[in-house]
Symmetry: C2
Subunit: 243 residues, 2 copies
Amino acid sequence: MNALSSDARLSLYQRLRDRLAQQIANNQWRPGDAIPTEAALSTEYQLSTGTVRKAVDALVNEGILERKQGRGTFVRRPQFQSSLFRFFRFQTAAGERQVPESRILSIEPVLAPTAVAQALELPADAPVIRIVRVRLLDAQPILAEQIWLPRARFRALLDINLGQEGPLLYPIYEKVCGQVVAYAEETLTAESVDEVHARLLQVPVNSPVVVIERLARDYAGAPLEWRRSRGHAELFRYSADVR
Amino acid sequence: MNALSSDARLSLYQRLRDRLAQQIANNQWRPGDAIPTEAALSTEYQLSTGTVRKAVDALVNEGILERKQGRGTFVRRPQFQSSLFRFFRFQTAAGERQVPESRILSIEPVLAPTAVAQALELPADAPVIRIVRVRLLDAQPILAEQIWLPRARFRALLDINLGQEGPLLYPIYEKVCGQVVAYAEETLTAESVDEVHARLLQVPVNSPVVVIERLARDYAGAPLEWRRSRGHAELFRYSADVR
DNA sequence: GAGTGGTCTAGACCACTCA
DNA sequence: GAGTGGTCTAGACCACTCA
């Protein structure tokens, strides 16, 4: 048996939701782990199953947990790969979807420029790591990315050969640095491409490109990564439901 | 007392959700109307309040209903104006948000081109109405729109002076034609602007523009309107959460 | 003060999973 | 067959709204 400590003005299911979210943020359960069953939680916190379900429902709706009937409730491993496909229709000539290759151009310790420090909620000139890379499909560059990471959490990245890892960074962050990306906020705009990115993307200067800024956070809501990507406008397509 | 008719393999709350959605689609309740109270629904369908709540919860999550504690549950009037602001940061020099003016360039009965017929789920060459207009802020054109409507439902639009109405079309659809937009699907891309739209938007040919395609549907899910809008890339900004 | 949605209880029975 | 989440009941009490 256990007591819910947070603000007693909140409802019981809200307080249980907060407690569970906090335990996930503290790595008490890792992505892929099962959390206690609904029966166990209702015994532990002396709540009815309906109230426990409401707390778990909230975290399921937030994308933090997922239920599997007959098996249990699990901490969700975010599927950023599919989110990438939502934004870009990267396809081979045969029309197949595939993860674009990654070519790392540079990775180096630098001091955070103002905009980066602000996005990562760090003091001005804080130590960060900057990665520049290009994503390719069929040897064709389709996306140019600048990535910024707080150096305190990601120092281990500087000691490995990033080029020898797979094209997806988030599994590397987890394996090498123990940092798990829980969710992200993205902002989309478009612009005329400048000379530097025109060369990287092999398109004419001033052709239209889509600009995606992404701030990734951990389960506790702390900023983990800020990136700005530029991509071919013709390859870009984003869909949304509006109500 | 009343019986739920739809597929008995579905759960009770799903079937009640479907029944309520169907009644809203049939205009049994209009936007702004209250639906019966939870107690009334639970008597009418012989269901416990928990089950009724689950059905109503589903429609609230879909954005079709909204609850107001102490007052009742209401059919939601979609707030497309705010969705517009999600996509474009239209601001006056003073930084205030405002609805852009509308200047109608043409409204005429035509036969649907293939792409339009397909989007509106009409046969090829079906009769439609095409509206071309420009949206302006501080007398500056910021958005050029082509709008297509099925003529059978919107014939009354041809008999009024659209230029004398307000800048928002959806209230006009409702008032003049009795057609209510329930939700919409939007797709975003970017491109280099062609000569025609460069002139409309008063930007240089080949400068980057954002292209938004929107298919609006009624509560029954039938297509009501298809539009394609082109806007200044510098004025465009879209945000999304990714999990 | 009557009526509304919001939270919560203490279960029962079911469908699904897995050894 | 034991354990899990999914659905459902029949309420109780509360906070809020409005005449």
